[in-house]
Symmetry: C2
Subunit: 340 residues, 2 copies
């Protein structure tokens, strides 16, 4: 049996879905994997921070957070902020789910670095640190004999990084192609159903997919960051989002949509990256996709990535209907793989 | 560094493709995984058997086999048959690629059992023993502290079993749905392009996809065996091909094809399995598939399987354009995962 003390930094939709998944899987983890756990710390953005080395009742914490009450009442120690939290918590694994910062990867990268330095496994659903600090955090994790895992950063918990790590040994990634931003895919799907761009954006905002300022999605930044993360990790070539040739979907008008339909095709915001020796060319741009492509059927918030390796001509992973529960599963899979 | 002595039983298209892949990957295996190897035995169906504990030159063996010459000249010992081969060869891993027997899984199951008993890892591309002897071979492998791996049996080397083994921990498979028989998918694709059933079968035979007697494919037996293998391993519920409700594609006429096209759909031979408590209902039957399904774009010899787990609503794996090289890669991946 392996016992792990868990620290949850970030207790929004994903953090709370992960807490619920931990409760649901507690018996299975113990019986099937010999893994038991205690949650020893929870840091929220707006509802306080709790640290208790004897364990925090997760159900109580969820109830407090969902009722908008502070978690500080559950704490043995007064905790000032997230850095103080990581310094104070007695934990073996940190789950970092703070809001993403596309430009610097901070403060997530600092949280993860600090956790690794304190001897914790560092697991995150935040793509910022993968793009901005992958090599540094991976080297630190190796030195500390801990794991830095981040399955949930690109495809909401569908296995991509673990696929290459463990199921595709001896395969060299030559190129990838996919649909990785759900907001733009949903907007285009809604426009195909007759909505204007503005109506489709409003809908995506109403269901909590798009941000108040949707430009990071609409202009292809989120997709570019995901391409950069995939290339950096899977091709082992550091690539910054700024180095991805990028065109958003603002150019897609109802007339474009109609033209694609007349050809039996659909517009998709397509991500591509191709290795060329020791460099890579990467791009995010709208493309017309025909029904003979597996991308054609990828609807709404679903996503796909097609890999070409030196051993498999074409291997695609398609994820349908993701949600916070899916992202939470990616964190759970990383946890099991880190400690088993 | 780990050194492995390899025995190759079966040296047809897949066995030879695997030998070529071993040659191509030799340096990468050593430098990246610390794995070195010697091939100490090759047993062919019609071109003799070679055993040499000091190692057989793979390039020479390939040349002999491809020129229709016997490999016996490379042997230190006279070997009578495949059982004598497994008893005589000094090896750490057996790669079993003998022709499949759908009804009994023999002689492959016996080959694999014998190899495990002699302390070898047992790796196969042959689905017969997975369906007929999975639990027996898995228990024996556990007892001997060896691996019984078979990634290439269902989707030509695309990662399915290793996906669940290592990339999807803590996920319980609830249902699956897919296109797993390439011959029937190719036949239907050719019929959509205007060929008759007979013409399409002849084409599939001409390119070496369909057997002289295509009934195992056409009547859905091959698909049923693959469903049985997936259910047996991934749901841990023993299922025989005979227990899969099965309808082949002989009912698909040009009129059916035209009717589907008029609805914007395509016929596919669809495999389904759904867990119901501790039992499973499984089926192979033609279905009309709409463009909103990822199965719609699966053309010719490509294949797909869509998984529903208790943690991911929909995760599909699509493999495009497989060949003997793809199957060979599944064997290589199993080899690396068995010994690393």
């Amino acid at each position: 049996m392996t016992h792990s003390r868990l620290a949850l930094l970030g207790f929004g939709n994903v953090g709370r879905a992960f807490a619920r998944l931990l409760i649901r899987k507690e018996v299975e983890l113990r019986d099937k994997y010999g893994i038991t756990f205690t949650v020893t710390g929870i840091a929220t953005g707006r509802h306080g921070i709790a640290v208790d080395h004897e364990g925090i009742n997760l159900k109580t914490a969820l109830e407090l957070a969902e009722n908008g009450q502070t978690l500080a009442a559950l704490s043995r120690l007064p905790i000032r902020d997230s850095l103080d939290f990581i310094h104070s918590v007695s934990a073996d694994v940190l789950f970092e789910n703070s809001p993403v910062n596309h430009h610097t990867g901070e403060p997530a990268a600092t949280h993860l670095r600090l956790a690794l330095e304190r001897g914790m496994h560092a697991i995150t659903a935040n793509k910022g640190p993968v793009v901005h600090a992958y090599h540094q955090l991976t080297d630190l994790a190796r030195k500390m004999e801990r794991k830095f895992y981040f399955e949930s950063t690109v495809m909401d918990g569908a296995p991509i990084f673990s696929l290459f790590r463990s199921a595709l040994p001896g395969a060299q990634l030559k190129s990838l192609r996919g649909i990785l931003n759900s907001t733009t895919n949903l907007i285009i799907s809604r426009m195909e159903a007759g909505e204007t761009f503005e109506q489709a954006v409003k809908y995506a905002q109403a269901i909590g997919i798009a941000e108040t300022d949707p430009s990071a999605d609409v202009e292809g930044w989120d997709a570019a960051i995901k391409v950069a993360a995939l290339v950096t990790v899977l091709m082992d070539i550091p690539l910054k989002p700024q180095e991805v040739e990028r065109q958003g979907i603002r150019c897609i008008t109802p007339a474009y949509i109609a033209e694609a339909r007349a050809q039996g095709k659909r517009w998709k915001l397509v991500c591509t990256a191709r290795r060329e020796g020791n460099t890579v060319s990467a791009r995010v741009a709208p493309e017309m996709v025909a029904p003979d492509s597996p991308m054609f059927s990828v609807e709404g918030t679903s996503s796909i990535v097609e890999f070409e390796t030196d051993t498999l001509t074409s291997l695609s992973i398609v994820e349908g209907n993701p949600g916070p529960e899916t992202t939470a599963y990616g964190l759970l899979a990383d946890f099991i793989n880190a400690v088993r």
